[in-house]
């Protein structure tokens, strides 16, 4: 009986979604703002990657909100898991192959993540993607070198510093240009590394912030709280 009711409810929801979506023309522009971003975005922001110009400049305040949500999640997890005294994993060291492979691969992954967020205004990717790649490098290091730990204090200070850089850049923009995250630096020559005004600063800050937050989450989860 319960299954029949749930299937019935699901089909009602499916019909509702179908009816509401089927009248929207697929792919047709619904507002003019998207066209403006596509046509004027590169001239206005100097960023070759259109997605980045939207994420950091046009919707920069939303991005600050997203980073804050991630921060609150990390803090909540640390508060829930980090209360009891921590002991770490039972110390069975990783195998020779795993440990040495991690030593070789770990810096390469870090380099890849750094490349992704430092070139966020030129190539696909950005602060969030690069930060997650860096966090996955720390996952690998926890698999390979089980007895080592990165200090929580370091994660915390990197994360706070990155958040401070983001907010300070925005506030300087507010003081100089009249609104939060206004473009205070010149756009520079397009397609070069030092271009697009404040975008590289913001994206490097986001990359460090996301990377340290997610690595801290993994760190908190991996430690045993008995």
């Amino acid at each position: 009986m319960r299954k029949i009711i749930s299937v019935l409810l699901l089909s009602i929801v499916a019909v509702g979604i179908y009816l509401s979506v089927s009248h929207i023309p697929f792919g047709a522009p619904k507002t003019k703002v998207g066209g403006h971003y596509v046509e004027q975005g590169m001239e206005e922001t100097g960023a070759a990657n259109m997605v980045t110009s939207v994420v950091v400049i046009y919707r920069g305040f939303d991005t600050l909100g997203e980073v804050t949500v991630l921060f609150i999640a990390a803090v909540g997890l640390a508060a829930v898991l980090g209360i009891a005294g921590q002991q770490g994993f039972p110390r069975e060291p990783a195998s020779f192959v795993l440990r040495n492979a991690c030593v070789v691969i770990f810096p390469l992954i870090l380099l890849c993540g750094t490349y992704i967020f430092a070139h966020g205004h030129l190539t696909p990717g950005g602060g969030f993607q690069g930060g997650v790649v860096i966090a996955s490098a720390f996952v690998l290091s926890y698999l390979g070198g089980r007895e080592r730990r990165i200090s929580k204090r370091l994660f915390g200070s990197v994360e706070s510093l990155a958040g401070l850089v983001f907010v300070t850049t925005g506030l300087i923009g507010l003081a100089v240009g009249g609104y939060f995250l206004s473009r205070i630096l010149p756009n520079g020559r397009p397609y070069s590394l030092l271009s697009a005004g404040i975008i590289p600063i913001i994206y490097i800050a986001i990359g460090f912030k996301v990377g340290s937050e997610l690595a801290g989450i993994i760190d908190n989860l991996i430690e045993e709280t008995k």
């Binding site: 997605v51 992704i116 969030f128 997650v132 996955s136 996952v139 993994i218």
Partner: protein, 79 residues
């Protein structure tokens, strides 16, 4: 092209159903990671490399790691 995409979507569906059906939660996690990975490839085919990167890094790598750690702390098999 359309053949490859439909094959990938079919594989993704199989992975999603498997993730629901498996009693061994570790296998279910791997099936869910497969779904994320194929979603990333599909995003790339749809010319959204930014989203593809985020999906591959978050869905296939980090979420899987967090789930595996969670299983380590609880039960591996569904009761």
């Amino acid at each position: 092209m359309i053949l490859i995409v439909s094959l990938l979507v079919l594989l993704m569906l199989v992975g999603a159903v498997a993730a629901c059906v498996f009693k061994d939660l570790l296998s279910a996690i791997i099936a869910a990671a497969l779904v994320s990975l194929i979603a990333a490839v599909l995003f790339y085919f749809l010319q959204a490399p930014d989203v593809a990167m985020a999906e591959a890094a978050v869905g296939a790598a980090l979420t899987t790691a967090i789930f595996v750690v969670a299983i380590r702390r609880t039960n591996r098999y569904e009761q």
